[in-house]
Amino acid sequence: MTESVALELTGLKLPVERGCPFAPPSAYERLREQAPINKIHLTSGGEAWWVSGHEEGRAVLVDPRFSSDKRKDGFPLFMLDAATLRQIRSQPPLMLGMDGAEHSAARRPVIGEFTVKRLAALRPRIQDIVDHFIDDMLAADRRPVDLVQALSLPVPSLVICELLGVPYTDHDFFQSRSTMMLRRTSSEDRLRAFAELRAYIDDLVTRKESDPGDDLLSRQIARQRRQGTLDHAGMVGLAFLLLTAGHETTANMISLGVLGLLSHPEQLAVVKADPGRTPMAVEELLRYFTIADGVTTRLATEDVKIGGVSIKAGEGVIVSTLSANWDPAAFKDPAELDVERGARHHIAFGFGPHQCLGQNLARMELQIVFDTLFRRVPTLRLAAPAGDLPFKTDSVVYGVHELPVTW
């Protein structure tokens, strides 16, 4: 491999400084053209393998010899800085950072909550929630409206609120704190919101323990009691994981999805003409933006040969899901947003045993939002040039801080 390209990638402000807001950093393409797997230098020091290829990425993520366990020494510092890693290590582990039997024991009890059938039963309620926020948006006496605050953030927040069984009277508190955690406010404000929400969830779990309702947390508590092991801290961790993993991600995809469609009117026309195409459009938007690039970081626990490359035990591996989703070997003309291409094999939700637990909830929220928004507000348009928008080039999950729209 050529040293210069790798160094150039290191020179980028990782994680996600995308050159053009719609395309991966240009260094990604050069790296992929060189080889599907390259060694790179990390800004945090040290080296890791950078996996660009779609096939190779899936091979790594499905292979049990690559660990997700951030408690292990030598876990690559890529999306995480040293302070965050210390914080993760000081808390009880979450399924996201477990392997094998331990991971399976944490994930299996929860997957029944996210089956395709269970989620289909939530559809009418999610439709109501989306309609409610669009009503409010249409009633606003001033335009433009910031779609991020009006729709993208509140919809997934309320959905998770109800899923977890947050009582109606606490919705405002829950939503304002979870949104503040993600706002561009000062870091003290964010930390305070984080602490308040954490304390709230702890208290919520305690209340569910004595006064169960018809919700995910109460069912998980009952399940643990049946097995004789009530794990309060683990339950708080699960609730917080579902909140943090499902809120900002879905919100960013709502904003970017709307932006992507408004910026490609011919593609939007395809969707508007037949709502039956929305699910396919959602897959393509997930592929195109791949907002959670590089969170799929792993540590090799044994020597493994992948795509002809020998990876040694103890070496770090970063699967770039964004690069994989723009691999022309898997997606012809990847730079084209083509809602009809059939993009289901993208790995925007990851691959392997950790593949996103909430993926089908996210899919449904996105489908309902896009369908409803463009049906009810057919003249929706951007109120600022796409290139001038404040993109989240500096955070783990890609998105846009504000999306002014009018109609």
Binding site: V116, H345, G350, F351
Partner: protein, 65 residues
């Protein structure tokens, strides 16, 4: 004729198979894959094949075509 096998120990409940071919794949109440048939008919064969390639945990396999 195509024959499908599902390994419920490997399944991680992603639901990808159900989304792809609900005539062949379902999930039980715990979210684990359940085959509605292990011999997809000609109409379902292509989508069942696609589901096998999408399964994130490689829990699905085709035994014979």
């Amino acid at each position: 004729m195509m024959r499908i096998k599902a390994d419920s120990d490997l399944c991680v409940g992603s639901g990808q198979c159900v989304l792809t071919e609900p005539a062949v794949f379902a999930q039980d109440d715990d979210g684990i894959v359940a085959l509605l048939t292990d011999h997809p008919d000609d109409q379902s064969a292509r989508q069942a094949h696609h589901a096998v390639t999408l399964c994130p945990s490689r829990a699905l396999s085709i035994l014979q075509e």
